[in-house]
């Protein structure tokens, strides 16, 4: 007895005989994209194109062949004549599905198999060479050092594994599209659509959030989620390359494999109940027709609505877009221009409900997204910065400082209505936050951004416009600065031991007469100019500044400067462009240029076994230098001829 199981060898071979040109064309493209470069440029340089770099030729073949193979091998489902003949032959539905699936997958994979074999033949040991540019690219893109043979058989197999995952995923989705579709054109379009639908819906979700929700930016893109939506994202980011199947991508790979298996099984189950008589319809399952219409309305209705919203404002664009999309979608799905029917009416009701829920839900924040603050225990770290002083961002990375930032975030969300509308309650222009009154018209506003890195690998970003004064007077923000690890470990200026502290002065030497012109410059460091007493005086001045610090620009910088000042101070960095007098004059005016103090402490802890060396360094804007440090520095200029000479030399 032949063909009694899940697989028909006869049909498998027949499919290969029929559709081999697909694989052939695919192989030609792959060959030109990879192995050809090895032949032309040699193994060392060619391996870049063949294995290491993002190869668009491979990706094109993988994606197009996945769709094309599915459309071809399951093409018999889309015509009445072929449906009848094929299903009256000695096949069961399961054997037809399994055999067609496997033969199509083989055709889609064949170019990669042949490319693999070609590369195996061309293979020569290639070791990393620090002088070669591709090696640098390799370490940069993958973030790790390659030490072994990068053109080994093992690496080739890993390359193939990445291609296999990409192709199997895309192909399985394309097959599922064929099982639910009723004709070839719709099959191909649905295959492309289904492959893109999850990232597209995610993008739509982000757009809705940004457009409708306060404080939720589209940049709140969860990369780890996106990477699991389609292998092509991992491929584009290098994750499916020969070196990309290592740890960071493992979870993505597992997700792809799981989805591939699930989609394949779903296709199998749907094939068994597929109403064959509906061949030539657009979609053969009635619920799928509703679903496709809904997806088309959701995508295109939303996009049209968003575009029109930019022009006209309001919600009319969403209504017009949804109606237009619905009519077009129904015509496609029902394959007729006569769309007035009971089914269309049901579809209309479903789509109207869906769009109302989407637009209304986001407009009214029914899902409470605006108010979300991650739970403290789920946060790995949180970065806070504002537009005014973006170079000095704060990273809360311990329990206390994270809680402080969450508290600040809560204050902002608690005053959502005021901050969102820049209006007070009951029509009043002014509003209160805590016991402080704010007048939106009078306040300086700044953007602030919270970026939460979550322990599950996710990310949550929020950004708001708030009065600068609100931040300057925020106890939560002050506490956050003071509670960071960075501040705690580095802030105590008195921890610096003058005996061990090395203070160096850096002077920029412009070779060009014009210091603003482009040109090389040299830095000259001269450490050891300060005596222990002078270093102690500097430390004391910094400590005093920290205590007394006043900054007329904004109090918000006080804590930040304290923080930076505490960490910093080591190298006194002064431009040679200014003389002592100019320096003093600039300082007197409240200088705001960015000459930096750099202070670092280098200490050595040695024992018989280990030797640890660490350096703490941070930058401090000279404009935020306090009176005490300024006085000490000017005194040094007086006291130390070498320093004066270097600082004033042009």
């Amino acid at each position: 007895m032949k063909n009694k199981g899940f697989f028909s060898k006869v049909l498998f071979i027949e499919n290969l005989k029929r559709f081999w040109p697909l694989a052939f064309v695919g192989f030609v493209i792959c060959f030109l994209s990879g192995p050809m470069s090895v032949i032309r440029s040699g193994a060392k340089n060619g391996v870049r194109f063949a294995l290491i770099d993002l190869n668009l030729g491979y990706m094109f073949v993988a994606l197009t062949l996945s769709v094309a193979a599915a459309v071809c091998v399951f093409g018999y489902l889309q015509k009445v004549s072929s449906v009848s003949v094929m299903h009256s032959m000695p096949f069961s539905r399961r054997s037809l599905y399994v055999t067609s699936y496997l033969s199509g997958l083989f055709i889609a994979l064949l170019p990669m198999i042949l490319t693999l074999l070609t590369l195996v033949v061309l293979r020569k040991p290639v070791y990393p060479d620090s002088d070669s540019y591709w090696y640098l690219g390799l370490t940069t893109s993958l973030g790790k050092e390659i030490t072994g043979d990068v053109f080994s058989f093992g690496m080739l197999l890993r390359w193939f594994a990445g291609q296999f995952v990409l192709i199997a995923f895309s192909y399985s989705v394309s097959v599922l599209a064929g099982i639910i579709s009723g004709n070839t054109v719709i099959h191909a379009l649905t295959a492309c659509g289904l492959n893109a639908i999850v990232p597209a819906l995610y993008g739509l979700y982000l757009l809705y959030r940004e457009l409708f929700l306060w404080g939720v930016p589209a940049s709140d893109l969860n990369t780890s989620v996106l990477l699991k939506m389609h292998p092509v994202f991992s491929y584009l980011s290098g994750g499916l390359g020969p070196f990309g199947l290592s740890k960071p991508w493992n979870s993505s790979i597992y997700a792809y494999v799981a989805v591939t298996i699930a989609v394949t099984l779903l296709g199998f189950l749907l094939y068994r109940i597929r109403p064959l008589e509906r061949a030539t319809d657009s979609y053969v399952f009635r619920p799928v027709s509703y679903l496709i219409t809904a997806l088309l309305v959701l995508c295109f209705g939303s996009i049209i609505g968003m575009i029109m919203n930019e022009v006209t404002g309001g919600y009319s664009g969403y209504i017009i877009g949804s109606v237009a999309s619905f009519v077009a979608a129904e015509m496609i799905v029902r394959k007729t221009t006569r769309i007035v029917s009971r089914e269309s009416l049901i579809s209309l009701v479903l789509c109207a409900a869906m769009m109302t829920l989407m637009v209304g839900g986001f407009a009214m924040d029914l899902f409470g997204i605006e108010d979300v603050i991650p739970k403290a225990e789920s946060i790995e770290s949180v970065n806070f910065n504002d537009w005014v002083s973006s170079m000095n961002s704060l990273t809360a990375d311990n329990e206390k400082s994270i809680e402080d930032i969450r508290a600040l975030h809560s204050v902002i969300i608690g005053n959502k209505e005021f901050l969102k509308n820049r209006n007070g309650a009951e029509g009043s222009a002014k509003f209160m936050i805590g016991d402080k009154a704010y007048d939106p018209e009078e306040e300086n506003w700044t953007g602030v951004k919270f970026v939460y890195q979550l322990k599950n690998g996710g990310m949550l970003t929020r950004q708001y416009d708030v009065p600068v004064r609100m931040l300057a007077e925020s106890k939560e923000l002050q506490a956050a600065y003071l509670d960071t690890d960075n501040y705690i470990t580095g802030a105590d200026i008195m921890r610096f031991d003058p005996e061990k502290l090395d203070v160096g002065f850096w002077f920029d030497r412009y070779e060009q007469p014009d210091p603003n012109a482009d040109g090389s410059f040299v830095e000259y460091s001269n450490s050891g100019m300060l005596s222990t007493e002078q270093k102690a005086a500097l430390i004391e001045a910094v400590a005093k500044d920290c205590d007394e610090f006043r900054n007329d620009i904004s109090k918000i910088y006080e804590w930040r400067t304290r923080n930076d000042a505490g960490i910093a101070y080591g190298y006194l960095h002064m431009g040679n462009r200014i003389s002592e007098a100019e320096y003093k004059a600039e300082m007197a005016r409240g200088l705001s240029f960015s000459e930096l103090y750099r202070v670092s402490e280098i200490s050595e802890k040695s024992d018989d076994v280990t030797r640890t060396e660490y350096e703490r360094t941070c930058d401090l804007d000279l404009s935020k230098c306090g009176d005490n440090v300024e006085a000490v520095l000017l005194r040094f200029l007086e006291e130390i001829p070498e320093l004066r000479e270097n600082a004033t030399r042009q």
Partner: protein, 256 residues
């Protein structure tokens, strides 16, 4: 033996088959007749295992046909709407059929192709419609099916080819006791080859039996109704009478 019991099938709101019964004896030729849209092709697609019944059973030699590979290996089906693989010629299709059907006879295939004068190396898509039908016959009948289901088999064929085809069919019935079910609108030809017929209308089996029995039944019925005393009715007259389109004088039509 083909046995259909209580077969029902709906396509959306339309019920194509309603509790339909059909019996075809082994080694006999059964004619399935009915007006357009009466459900003949739907019934055939159930008999050939293409469609899954909503209810009822379709069996060949006591075994369900649907998804039954061993039954389908003994089943040959020539649909009205033919299908061959794109860009295939007869040789390619023969290779496929030979792999699928365990009883495939190359000898018979060669003989039939020669008899029909079909070019083996020419693409089937380049064949005329009649030639494609002959090619389908050559392929299907070379599989030596025990059950042969033909949907409008001689539609569009010239008399010479039709004669040859009927000869092959009769030969299979006579020599191998093949069971044949034919759906056709050509009632005169059916009358010449069929042992029994089934008249299907609106998805229901209206009348089923040996041709002679049906003729006698209709004759007596007409007599009883006072519609005439003509004897020796043709199958076409019986069918038309059943459909209420009796061409005979005085007939009211219908067997109800």
């Amino acid at each position: 033996m083909i046995e259909v019991k209580g077969l029902s099938k709906s396509f959306g709101d339309h019920q194509a088959l309603k509790n339909l019964d059909l019996h075809v004896k082994t080694g006999s030729i059964y004619g399935l007749i009915g007006v357009n849209g009466s459900g003949k092709t739907t019934l055939i697609k159930h008999i050939t295992g293409v469609l899954l019944p909503d209810s009822g059973t379709v069996k060949i030699d006591g075994q369900d046909v649907y998804d039954n590979i061993s039954v389908k290996e003994r089943l040959g089906y020539i649909p009205d709407d033919l299908y061959f693989f794109n860009s295939y010629d007869l040789k390619g299709m023969k290779s496929f059929y030979r792999g699928l059907y365990p009883n495939f006879s190359e000898q018979r295939f060669d003989a039939m192709v020669k008899d029909f004068g079909l070019p083996e190396g020419k693409k089937l898509s380049k064949f005329s419609k009649g030639m494609q039908k002959q090619a389908a016959f050559a392929l299907t009948m070379s599989a030596m099916p025990e059950v042969l289901v033909l949907d409008e088999p001689v539609d569009g064929l010239d008399p010479v080819v039709r004669h040859k085809l009927w000869r092959y069919v009769m030969q299979d019935v006579a020599e191998r006791s093949a069971t044949v079910l034919i759906s056709s609108h050509n009632l005169r030809e059916l009358e010449g080859v069929c042992d029994s017929v089934g008249i299907i209308s609106g998805g229901e089996m209206k009348l089923e039996g040996d041709i002679e029995d049906l003729k006698n039944y209709v004759t007596k019925l007409r007599e009883n109704r006072g519609e005439g005393t003509e004897t020796d009715l043709s199958l076409e007259e019986v069918f038309l009478y059943e459909m209420g389109e009796d061409p005979l004088p005085g007939a009211k039509g219908g067997l109800k």
